[in-house]
Symmetry: C2
Amino acid sequence: MDDAEGLAAWAALLADRSRAAMCLALLDNRAWTVGELARHAGVAMPTASEHADRLVNGGLAAEHRQGRHRYLSLAGPEVAALLESVSSQVAPGHAPLRSMAAAHRMRNLAAARTCYDHLAGTLGVAVADALAATGAIDRRSGLTLTGEGRALLGNVGIELATTTRRPLLRDCLDWTERRPHLGGVLGAAICRHAFDAGWIGRIGTGRAVRVTPAGADAFADQLGVVVPSTPDTPGAIYAARGAPRVINA
Amino acid sequence: MDDAEGLAAWAALLADRSRAAMCLALLDNRAWTVGELARHAGVAMPTASEHADRLVNGGLAAEHRQGRHRYLSLAGPEVAALLESVSSQVAPGHAPLRSMAAAHRMRNLAAARTCYDHLAGTLGVAVADALAATGAIDRRSGLTLTGEGRALLGNVGIELATTTRRPLLRDCLDWTERRPHLGGVLGAAICRHAFDAGWIGRIGTGRAVRVTPAGADAFADQLGVVVPSTPDTPGAIYAARGAPRVINA
DNA sequence: CCGACAGTTCGGCCCGCACCGAACATCCGC
DNA sequence: GCGGATGTTCGGTGCGGGCCGAACTGTCGG
């Protein structure tokens, strides 16, 4: 009975359009200031400030005050995973797109994006499929990283952190593809390496990413991934939105 | 931006104490009538009826009308999994127990219970640990059912459905133990077999289960599980609550 | 020291919605 | 067909909370 109280309180944090928008924005694993979140959600700053209080007090977000800025980020990978799960669950009935720009953004998001700290969209699913096809991961009984997979990643230069209690790899239901992509330590390591090696880069300021020409070759040669074509988008479209800044070293 | 709308709408379904209580009740994978849910949540029937409408329209619950009864159940395993995930996330800060009876119920729930259609609590975690210890499942790289595991289950007489798209096995973070127990097809098969073979039985009308004496031997001999002691509880404690009925064949 | 900027606090408005009682609609058992 | 039980519909009430503008605090830059 008192569990219900806690569950309801937790859900209430997401049960508001503005807070939901803020949480989804934070899913890009970067820290946003209150002002940026306010612009993103389309509310005044006092309102966003109150929402920020509730998200932090409710344990959904962490704050990081620095000078006159107050940065918000998600409280942790568990929160991100949960938000993604809920999003995928909700996704089926999504509203029709109203403008060319929105459709363009949607195409970019669907093609390749980050999901907290790993790859998602057509690209993310393609990576998961390629690793399964080459035997780097095995889905016949559960989900496991094979010895060949470890060797492959070692050759590519992807290190897997072993000191964390986080699952090594886990399926994350893709929001647009409705099929699983890879999360966990493995998913994060691949994504990080793809950024570091210049295989991918952000489109504008959102979660969408673009595969670079060199990246397309690298994905194909080193991971056996057939990279889907990326529509790309002039960054100007995003210019109206507040730009989140990265603070973590 | 319109994702936020959907996410908020979904969360709003759970963002009410009464609806949350109803959903948690439905987690026992049985069908409850509106009246039972009303008593369980402590609200009048008209209120519960409206809540039922919203849960069904929102896709969280399915309804099944039969005569003058209207049975509610969770919409599916995905919904159950999501609810369990959220519950585990929320659990850490749980309120202190106010009565002896509540403490008793809590002990029973913590010892052994069902989580939708698989085993949870100390028992559920013990099963997962035992399968890992005997090499039936492998956690070194992801989570897989080994050949030995398949053989073991075959000997015990547990059949694994292969026609479903549901994951064969997956970790489900335990609400009380804060460690994973087994869900998915495997978790459901083990739980079903434990009921069918008389290894476990329900305590009262809730989610709590008790390991029978024969069951304790069977768990130990056939699955290598050291069964934790079950406090057991006189069913009378539960008598005040409305009793859910099982309708599925 | 002073403007500009980021964020917070406060007061007030208003909408949504959870809740109930009463009346109504169904269905069951006798 | 007649109670009695299960649910639903309909008004009405009250509370919570989302929102904003205005005033205030604190920080950075010069």
